[in-house]
Amino acid sequence: MSNEATVHGHSEVTTHEVHHDDHHGHHHQDTFITKYIFSQDHKMIGKQFLITGIVWAIIGGLFSVLFRLQLGFPDQSFPILEDLLGSKWAAGGKIQPEFYYALVTMHGTVLVFFVLTAGLSGTFANLLIPLQIGARDMASPFMNMLSYWFFFLASIVMISSLFVQTGPASGGWTSYPPLSALGDASEGSKAGMDLWLVSMALFVVSSLLGGLNYIATILNMRTKGMTMTRLPLTIWALFFTAVLGVLSFPVLFSGFILLLFDRHAGTSFYLSDIFLASTQKPLPNEGGSAILYQHLFWFLGHPEVYIILLPAMGMASEILSTNSRKPIFGYMAMIASLFAICVLAFLVWAHHMFVTGLNPFLGSFFVLLTLLIAVPSAIKVFNWLTTIWRGNIRFTPGMLFALGFISMFISGGLTGIFLGNSTLDIHLHDTMFVIAHFHIVMGVASFFGMFAGVYHWFPKMFGRYLNNTLAYIHFWITLVGAYLIFWPMHYEGLAGMPRRYLDVSGWVSFNQFDGLNRFISIVSIIVFAVQLLFVFNFFYSIFKGRRVKTPNPWGSNTLEWTTPINPGHGNWEGEIPEVHRWAYDYGKDGRDFIPQTEPVSATESKH
C-alpha cells in the first residue's frame, strides 16, 4: 500500500490512479490499533522497539543475577529459588547445571540480539532517521512495521522456548555445533535449540527489513539541502550499522540453515567422527567440520559487535557536541573512521578462532587486521575528547552517559589489544578476561550510549522529561558498579579462570577469588536494582514527567527539534524545513548555536 502511495511525487510517473483511500491526509483519525499497535509511524515503531527492548533487558539482566548467584555462592543454597523456579531447575535451592547453561546462553542471546541490536538500532534508527534527515517517514513505513512484528514474533518464540520441558537452548550464545546440532548431546540441544534457531531466523528477517529501509531512507529521502556531509553523525553511524547488518546477517542465516539440516535431515556439514557419551553410540556422520560453523557465525559475529556499538558511537558524538556547546571535532575523520571500522569489521572474524587450529600463518594476518581496528577507534576517542576539551559542558544525564560511554570504550578497547594478539589469546581465550573485555567495550559501553540516547531524546519521544535525580543516581551507581563488576574479571581471566563454568571451586588456584566472586555478584545485584529504578523513571515519566515547554530544550541544531513538541505522523506541520548548514554550529561567531535550518549569512565566518 504505502509503496505505491510513494509514487505520487515521482517525476516520470503518469498517473490516473483511482485511489480512493489515499487522501485522508493528516485529518485521518487513528484508532487505538492503528496508532499504538499496527502503527506505521516511525516514531511509534521506535517506541515499540524501545519498550520491547526494555522488557527483554529486564529478563536478560535477571538471568545474569541468577547465574551470578551460582558463581558468587557456589556452595550455598537459596530455597527461594526452588519455590520460584521449581525443583527441576533449582532442586534444593541450587541452580542445576543444565539450568545454569541455559541462563548463560539466554542472557547472551537476549542482550546481544534482542536488546542491544533490536532495542538499540531499532529504537534510534526509527526515531532519528526520518526526524534528523527531514523526512516524513521511512521509505517504506509498511516494511518498517513488519520489521517490528518479525522482532515481536522472534521474541514470542524465544520466550516460549523458556517453557518447553527440556528447557531453552543452552550451548552458549554462539551455539556451536556439534553440541547445538545433536539433540542427544544435552537437554538444551533438544526442542529449545530448534526454537532458538527459528527465533533467530525471524530475528534476521526483522533486522534485514529494518536495515534495508534505513539505508534506502537515508540515501533517498533527505530534505532539501541535507547533503550527505551535512548529516548528523548519528545518521552516519546508523547508516553504517544498517550496512553491516544487511551484509552480515544473511551469512549467519546460511550457517543456521546448514545447522538445521544437520539437526533434522541427517546431513553432516558440521559433524564428523562423533561418539556420543549420553547414548554410548558412535554417530554415522562423516566429513563435516565444526569449524565451518564458526567461520559462518563469526563472519556475522564480529560485525554484529559493531552493529551494537556504532549507534552508541553516533549518539554519543551528537550528545557530546550538543552538551559541550562546541562543534564536533573532526567531522570528516569521524565518518572516515566509521567507514574504516566497517570495512575492517568484515576482515577480522577469525580472531575469535585463534585456538581452533587455525593456520598460524593465516592467524598472523588476522592479528594485523585486528590490531588495525585500534587506529580508527583511537581517532574517534581523540575526537570525542577534543570535542569536550574546554567545552562549556552541561552535565545533563544524557551527557553523563555519553562521557561514561567514552570511558568504557577506552577501557574495553585496550583489553582488545591483548586479545588481538594470537599468542596472548592462547592463554586468554575462553577465560573471564574475554568476558571482562566484551562486557566493558560492548555491553556496558553500548548500554551507556543507549541510556544517553534515551535521556537525550525522551523529551522528543514523549513530550516530557525524565526525572533528573533518579537519572543521576542511575548514572553514578551504574558507572561505578560496572567497573567494580568487570574490572576484577580481568585478574581472574589472567589467572586462567575459565568462562561459562558452573563451579570453579574444584581448582585450588582459583580459591583466591572466592571473595572476589562474591563481591562481583553482590555488586551485580545492586546494579540490576538500579536499572529497575531507571525502568520506573521511564514509565513514570511517560505519564507524569515534567512537561517539555519549548520545542528545542537542549538548544540543539538538528532537525528533530524543529518539529512540534508532540509531532504527529508526518513530523512537520507545514513544509519540511530546508537545511543550510551542517549540524554542529555551536559557539560560532559568538552565538550559542545555529540550527541547521538557518541560512548561512554573508558575514558569517567559515568553519
Binding site: L247, S254, I257
Partner: protein
C-alpha cells in the same frame, strides 16, 4: 495517508527500487556465504563430489532464461499500456517460473536416485540446499507475480504506475542471473 507524506520528498532513485537493490545485495551475501562454505569444504579431506549435473538442469536453465524474456516483454507492454498483452505475459512468466521449480525438483530426484542423499557433507548436499534456497526465491517471485496479476485483472483500480512492475522485473532477472551463477559454480567445481 502516506501519500502526501512521501510525495514531497525529493528523490534520486525511487526508494522502492533502491530498497530492492540493497535487498539483492543481502541475498547475494547469503549465497556467497554458502558457496564459500562449499569452496572451503571442498578442499578438505573426505569431500564427496557429484559425478555429473543432471541434464534437466540445462533445460530448466533455458526455461528460466525464457521467463526473463517474457518478464521483460511484460514490462514493455505495461509501459505501452497494452493491458491484455501485459496480463498474458506475466501469467506466462509465472508459469515458466513454476515449471522451473518443477524441473529443479526432478533434477534433485535424479541426484537422489543416483545415491546422493542427505547423508554426508559433499557437493550433493550443498547442491540440495543452495539450489533449494534459490528455488524458494523463485517461489517468492511467483507469489509476487500472482499478486500482480490479481491487480492487473482488477477493474476497480487502474494503475499505470510502472514502479512495481519494474521492481518485479529487476527481481526476476536477478534470480535468473543468480541461477546462472550457481550453475556455472557447480559445473566448475564438480
Amino acid at each position: 495517508m502516506e501519500t502526501q507524506i512521501v510525495m514531497e520528498q525529493r528523490k534520486r532513485i525511487h526508494p522502492a527500487k533502491f530498497t530492492l537493490w540493497v535487498g539483492i545485495g543481502s541475498i547475494v551475501m547469503m549465497f556467497a556465504g554458502l558457496t564459500s562454505a562449499y569452496i572451503v569444504k571442498r578442499s578438505q579431506p573426505s569431500w564427496v563430489s557429484l559425478n555429473e549435473i543432471p541434464r534437466i538442469f540445462w533445460y530448466s536453465t533455458l526455461v528460466i532464461l525464457a521467463s526473463s524474456v517474457t518478464m521483460q516483454m511484460a514490462l514493455r507492454s505495461f509501459k505501452q499500456r497494452e493491458r491484455p498483452q501485459y496480463r498474458r505475459l506475466i501469467l506466462i512468466t509465472g508459469l515458466l517460473g513454476a515449471l522451473f521449480i518443477m524441473m529443479q525438483w526432478f533434477g534433485f530426484k535424479a541426484i537422489w536416485a543416483s545415491g546422493t542423499t542427505f547423508a554426508g557433507a559433499g557437493a550433493g548436499q550443498f547442491l540440495y540446499i543452495i539450489a533449494g534456497l534459490h528455488a524458494l526465491h523463485v517461489l517468492a517471485g511467483i507469489i509476487a507475480l500472482i499478486i500482480m496479476s490479481f491487480r492487473a485483472f482488477s477493474t476497480k483500480r487502474r494503475n499505470y504506475n510502472p514502479v512495481p512492475v519494474e521492481v518485479m522485473s529487476t527481481y526476476w532477472h536477478f534470480v535468473d542471473i543468480l541461477w546462472l551463477y550457481l550453475l556455472v559454480f557447480f559445473m566448475m567445481l564438480t
